[in-house]
Amino acid sequence: MLNNLAVNYEEAVAMILFGIGFCTLLFHRNLVKKIIGLNIMDTAVYLFLASMGYIEGRRSPIADPSVPASVSAFINPIPSGLVLTGIVVSVSVTAIMLALTIKLYKRYHTLNLDEIYMFAKNEDIG
């Protein structure tokens, strides 16, 4: 297993990065830090996709129009396109999360999730 991990080091690093983001998401009570954690997880997904499309010793998929393109010269272009989708969705989700966080901060004057829960619960009782 360790041997295989050393061969697939780029995917392994992506997974560790994903784990770091997941830990940040779980351990921190601060909403901004949770958003940072989610963004780290997104980055890990991009790294994973990019490394899945990579083929050793080949160039990026920009063809020379005078020569007919052969599949043995270029890396796989599909994961590169998928990373683009991921980046766009990540930007949009981050923006909406930040806007909601600002909304929560304006109401409860805290970014701590526990305090927000506490205030919201007592608000219901009151």
Partner: protein
């Protein structure tokens, strides 16, 4: 707490509630007027005070035990999660191998017939704006929807703001001579570079998303240096609406036409051009421009929405 230049930032991040600039600038968080009722935080603390003593004690114990359980479970979940992921990676095919299962006939088709079928030299651009153009339309719509959501959320906030943002001297750069000179020099260069990336999307690395992001960054820099009034002459809410809607509609209609004729084996009047020229690739160049405009509007829109609650 360390006393370096970031200490204020860390204090804000860790403390969560106490903003060190709270008395100096308007963060929109507090209403400073004798006539208005106390801020909602005080009200909420008053509500907490009203909870009976014995129930508070019980709740505190519950919270403490829950927190301990939460930490233990978090560690467990994280360790299990990462080990399962690493185990999966160890079973994946060799990194960089050319016979990996994702290098299948789809990628082969895109590479071998891409230049002839789409007219784009950059095979990724040909893929995302021709073969998979509906995917990219979806992405542009996601961006537009996100801006709309943030707009709705921030708009309701800006009406609650009591002190106008013009008193926000701490962040006002409109009297900074050095910044003005640098931005006067840099803004045209940045915009030109953005346009270059945008128009070269089918010939080399770049395209609508990258070029649009660069142009959005240029607009942000301009707005930071010269203030909102000057930027509004260049780009206001009306421009945002017109540009985004027109770009998205043009994308939608032109690509629908191309898909309709392609699926029914009809004659397509859009010329492919000679691959490698700037005017080639059929619809890819106009679609790149559309995507770039939407992205630039979105990036600048996010910035200005978070800064002053409206475009």
């Amino acid at each position: 707490m360390k006393k370096n230049k970031f200490s204020r930032f860390f204090r804000w991040i860790e403390g969560g509630q106490k903003d060190s600039l709270e008395q100096k600038i308007d963060t929109g968080a507090e209403i400073r007027d004798g006539a208005v009722p106390p801020s909602s935080r005080e009200k909420l603390y008053a509500l907490l005070e009203a909870v009976p003593e014995n129930r508070k004690k019980m709740e505190n114990m519950e919270i403490r035990s829950f927190n301990r359980l939460y930490q233990v479970l978090c560690v467990l979940v994280c360790v299990i999660f990462i080990s399962v992921l690493l185990l999966t990676v160890s079973y994946l095919p060799r990194f960089g191998g050319d016979h990996n299962p994702d290098n299948n006939e789809v990628a082969q088709r895109y590479i071998e017939n891409g230049v002839a079928e789409t007219g784009a030299v950059n095979l990724v651009a040909g893929m995302i704006l021709d073969y998979r153009a509906f995917d990219t339309l979806g992405e542009s719509c996601v961006l537009f929807t996100a801006v709309t959501c943030v707009f709705v959320l921030m708009k309701s906030l800006s009406s609650e703001r009591t002190i106008p943002l013009t008193k926000d001297i701490m962040y006002d750069m409109s009297n900074d001579v050095i910044l003005h000179q640098v931005v006067t020099f840099l803004f045209p260069v940045i915009m030109l570079f953005g346009v270059y990336i945008l128009l070269n999307g089918h010939l080399g690395p770049g395209g609508g998303f990258a070029g649009g992001a660069v142009m959005g960054a240029g607009l942000m820099l301009y707005s930071l240096a010269f203030g909102e009034e000057k930027t509004e002459r260049l780009f206001n809410e009306r421009t945002f609406q017109v540009v985004s809607t027109c770009a998205l509609s043009f994308y939608c209609l032109s690509k629908s036409y191309s898909f309709f004729t392609g699926a029914n084996h009809l004659e397509n009047i859009i010329p492919k051009g000679i691959a490698g020229n700037i005017l080639s690739g059929g619809l890819i160049l106009p679609l790149n421009i559309c995507v770039g405009l939407v992205v630039a509007c979105t990036m600048y829109g996010f910035y200005t929405l978070f800064r002053k609650g409206g475009i």
